[in-house]
């Protein structure tokens, strides 16, 4: 009797450990695929978590930001490569839309629509949205583009293979292939300046203070004040990119 009970408990033990071992093997085989479930993990609050606010009502379309960005980051001068640019939207009285961005706003904006036909017109500065669920980071096959612990989307130019999948995946057109480096290139929120305690170049040169950036963890930052006092909107919210570039006064025509 006792012997039998011992046997059955031993059998149970073997069965249980086999189950455990099996779970471990299956679990470790499945584990790498957990990364396929895509969701942003906001890191612990030991580092700032940067976001950007742009006040469309204050933007005067001078293009200083676009110029400063090219100078600061050695972006190629040709009009096909931009980390930061300005668009002018003009909505006519008949409801049609005219958009322009001459050389990304570096050249002068010339209004081609006669004054009498204009319903309203405004400038929209564009730059990387530093999305929390970046579609561009998601698709990089090798891990050459990533979100830094500060929430800034960066490109590792020594590791990028130049497949351009990230350029296809960015809904905002914020990436380009650097013609000399042959790697993807984009706004770094002037990471090199932030780390030196300086403001990003486009924020420094904005004459009207239309741009602010700040730490979303810091509830007293000017950015929080901006978000609290204005009804802000992100671009293409339906794509759920977790964009951290918030616009005040964004018209529904802007894409």
């Amino acid at each position: 009797m006792g012997n039998e009970r011992l046997n059955s408990s031993r059998r149970n033990f073997i069965r249980k450990s086999a189950l455990l071992a099996g779970t471990l093997v299956v679990g470790s085989a499945v584990k790498p695929f957990q990364a396929m479930l895509f969701a942003a993990n906001e890191p612990e609050k030991t580092m700032p978590w940067y976001a950007i606010g742009i006040d469309i009502e204050k933007c005067i379309g001078c293009g200083s930001c676009a110029r400063a960005c090219k100078a600061e980051n050695d972006v190629p001068k040709e009009p096909f490569f931009f980390r930061s640019w300005v668009e002018q939207y003009t909505i006519k009285n008949d409801g049609t839309l005219a958009v322009q961005s001459p050389n990304g706003g570096i050249d002068d904006f010339v209004q081609t629509v006669p004054e009498a036909e204009i319903f309203k017109s405004f400038f929209v500065p564009k730059m990387c949205n530093h999305c929390a669920k970046s579609p561009c980071v998601q698709v990089c096959p090798v891990g050459a583009t990533y979100e830094s612990p500060e929430g800034i989307v960066l490109v590792d130019e020594k590791y990028c293979i130049g497949c351009r999948y990230c350029i296809q995946a960015c809904p905002y057109g914020c990436r380009y292939l650097h013609p000399e480096k042959q790697t993807a290139d984009k706004c770094t929120l002037c990471y090199h300046r932030l780390k030196k305690g300086l403001n990003p170049a486009c924020f420094d040169v904005c004459p009207t203070g239309a741009r602010i950036y700040g730490d979303l963890h810091d509830m007293n930052s000017p950015l929080h004040k901006f978000l609290k006092e204005h009804s802000t909107q992100v671009l293409k919210p339906q794509l759920n990119t977790g964009s951290k570039l918030f616009y005040n006064g964004l018209s529904s025509e802007v894409r």
Binding site: F80, I161, Y165
Partner: protein, 397 residues
């Protein structure tokens, strides 16, 4: 960079300033086209092996060798297109599993090494051993290397060849589906691009892959038979035609469903896609992909289901519909890859694409990549001719 300034003048409406250049050109059109041919040819081969459609026997080995020749080339346009081709190994060492593109290296290797090479090796091992005994010089040495030193020809070992080869083929079918469905997913999973983003994309890619692969084997079978001056096995050709018809119907239905769904839902991107389809993709979509690649072959192959004309008429018509399907599927890839980049993600305008002649992205290079698999296939047919296999010889005797 002159071509970019040239293109700047051809921009239509408003596009984001970074969107002037198309980032994926003709090389990326070739990539899904060539992998599609591989998957399609392999599936045709497995119809014979796994699903026991014995009438397809004359094309079995040809289909396998075609798949291998195209698979060897499939990766080349992809790697040459990279900004840094020598960093391509990173996709194997640090694959980023959130990315649809990351497992390409593994899927490709799996399909090449584990499925295609193994199946062909099991199938040819006995012949390789016998050919090594019969031939001399370099050819003899080549055959010897290819046997990997397994020269045992006892009935038991040969039975193992058959058994293991069968297992590999069974594993190969889902692998072929994976290989090409996955290529479709690379495009279908890009939510930023409404022309690509569709759940049906992998299925459509898979079906058009089967269509193109079957058409390619049909075409090659007729060409090879003519060169060898042997009679074409008409029941086999009719059977291939039947399958081509079947898959073509499925493909056409699903592609239409995708478009109908798009039109009916008429989302935010509808206007720009409507303009794209009726403008820049007009000819390649309606004429090349629709009429030439689908409607006419469907009509020809469908007519054969109702009434089988004489062999003399059937042969050129099979040849014609096979070629038309191949052209149509090429333009299907073109419409997806190029079409998806012609419109701005601001949905407010179009850029332009001009296919150059020279350079890595020119059409001469594209033709080279398309001709290369045929050269490799000719080499295979010279080295391991299916019609000189001992089993085949016994069958015909």
């Amino acid at each position: 960079m002159e071509h970019l300034y040239e293109m700047l003048k051809q921009v239509d409406g408003y596009i984001y300033p970074n969107e002037i250049e198309l980032h994926w050109g003709i090389l990326i059109v070739l990539y899904p086209y060539i992998t599609g041919l591989v998957a399609g040819a392999f599936i045709l081969a497995s119809l014979e092996r796994v699903f026991k459609i014995k009438v397809l026997r004359p094309t079995y080995h040809l289909a396998l060798l075609t798949a291998l020749a195209f698979l060897l080339v499939a990766i080349l346009p992809l790697v040459t297109h990279l900004g840094h081709p020598f960093r391509a190994y990173e996709i194997m060492t640090t694959p980023h599993l959130q990315s649809a593109m990351a497992i390409f290296g593994f899927v490709y290797l799996w399909y090449l090494m584990v499925v295609l090479l193994l199946e062909i090796w099991f199938d040819y091992r006995r012949d390789l051993v016998l050919w090594a005994e019969q031939s001399t010089g370099i050819k003899r040495r080549l055959y010897k290397i290819l046997t990997l030193g397994v020269t045992d020809l006892s009935p038991k070992t040969i039975a193992w060849d058959e058994k293991l080869g069968f297992i590999v083929t069974v594993v190969g079918i889902p692998s072929a589906f994976l290989l090409h469905g996955y290529v479709g997913f690379i495009f279908g999973s890009i939510k930023a691009n409404p022309w690509w983003s569709s759940v049906l994309m992998p299925v459509i890619f898979l079906l058009s892959a089967m269509v193109s692969g079957i058409a390619m084997v049909m075409f090659l079978y007729m060409v090879v038979s003519r060169i060898r001056k042997v009679k074409i096995d008409m029941p086999c050709l009719d059977e291939i035609g039947k399958f081509l018809f079947m898959v073509l119907i499925l493909d056409f239905t699903l592609e239409s469903l995708d478009q109908v769904h798009r039109i009916y839902e008429a989302e935010e991107s509808f206007e720009i896609l409507h303009m794209l389809v009726n403008g820049k993709l007009n000819i390649t979509l309606f004429i090349m992909q629709g009429l030439v690649g689908t409607i006419i072959p469907l009509a020809i192959l469908g007519f054969f289901r109702i009434h089988l004309p004489k062999e003399k008429i059937r042969k050129p018509l099979y040849m014609l519909s096979g070629l038309m399907v191949l052209v149509g599927v090429f333009f299907m890839r073109w419409n997806v890859v190029i079409g998806g980049q012609l419109f701005s993600k601001s949905f407010l305008g179009f850029t332009n694409f001009k296919l150059g002649m020279i350079g890595a992205e020119g059409y001469l290079m594209a033709i080279f990549w398309l001709v290369l698999p045929f050269c490799i296939l000719s080499f295979f047919l010279w080295l391991v001719p299916p019609w000189k296999k001992h089993a085949e010889a016994e069958l015909t005797e």
